[in-house]
Symmetry: C2
Subunit: 215 residues, 2 copies
């Protein structure tokens, strides 16, 4: 069985959980308690030299890292139901949208970066919050514009079934709420978020519903 | 003909240029002078609400954003020669490696983030350099470990032909040199960098060889 190393609050772990659930893939969960620093120990480091979650061990003993790479591998290896379009252009737009979140928003909010800001750079709580408001706010505003550019009023980002873009959007909206970033004006983002979170596959992937959850 | 909007110094534009060259794809170059802020004007913003380069306009008038999405679309649309493995596991490892750079290293060094650090947060030049040394240094050290985990001593990251991982590695090493980050101890990274930059497809993509280059 697939072994999934993750952490309840990690956005990128959350993405993978949604993908597992949408595809109905069972996995063995191996919690990595990021706050304790266990990811820096030799055991985990051999698995992922980056010392970050998620990491996925396949049945053949290979290790995959990086959530988007894991999700695309799942989509290729367990193709039904798909989480990406079979049309190259739409698939490129799904990937582009996912990467706006994964390459431009999320990296600026992750734990090690926030720790560096308040630790090494001595940023105040207000400065940290302004940093988060800037990158999460601007980033999700760009997501809203990208979604508004799409033709129809589909239930999800790219059509009427949830896919890679939704898988990335939901954890990012969750983070914006957690960090008190105001995105009330982003109507399409909010609508799709609500359509997604009404589904049990998204609900079961929520950080609050994980075995390693801590209040 | 494909219209490619980029900037000579942008790492993600550099990635796309290498991919175009490896595949022998001609394109019309539309320079976006990031330092002047032209990317924030209405014309570019309609093309990419994220106000970042690169953006690619297809012959059919669609716009693609995000370098990795663009490169995967090129690989699907112009498959010969490929820049990704046809084996799902190797492809996942190539994507994972590329995303270590695109999702964890590069976002912390881009122009708007460095401007925020020295502007809004009032970081000194030394603090900015320490930030860069931390994220570029740690990130490329993780790349070195990932490459050392690979079995053979191939010429490139994943085999004897250059691909997606090399396309991301070369601009990142170029940035580390530009920012004076010491990576002299990363022997495998340096070896692959040299093997890549000896090829004319990489050389022609170098920022110094672009029509919009400024010293």
């Amino acid at each position: 069985m697939l072994k999934f190393h993750g952490y309840f609050r990690s956005s990128s772990s959350y993405r993978c959980r949604i993908a597992f659930n949408l595809k109905g893939i069972e996995y063995e969960f191996r919690p990595v308690h990021l706050k304790s620093g266990v990811q820096k120990g030799d055991a985990f480091r051999q698995l992922n030299p980056q010392m970050l979650v998620p990491a996925l061990e396949t049945d053949e003993g290979a290790t995959l890292i990086q959530s988007l790479a894991i999700i695309e591998w799942l989509d290729e290896t367990y193709p039904d139901p798909p989480v990406m379009s079979r049309d190259p252009l739409t698939r490129a737009q799904e990937r582009g949208f996912a990467q706006v979140i994964a390459c431009e928003i999320h990296p600026l909010q992750n734990l090690r970066v926030l720790n560096y800001l308040t630790g090494d750079l001595g940023a105040s709580e207000d400065q940290k919050n302004a940093w988060l408001a800037r990158w999460l706010g601007d980033g999700l505003a760009a997501c809203e514009e990208l979604l508004q550019q799409q033709a129809g009023d589909t239930r999800f980002c790219f059509g009427d079934t949830p896919g890679l873009a939704d898988i990335c959007l939901v954890p990012q909206v969750f983070s914006s709420e957690r960090f008190d970033v105001d995105i009330s004006g982003l109507s399409r983002v909010r609508e799709i978020y609500e359509n997604c979170t009404a589904l049990p596959e998204f609900e079961r992937a929520h950080p609050g519903n994980q075995p390693d959850f801590e209040a």
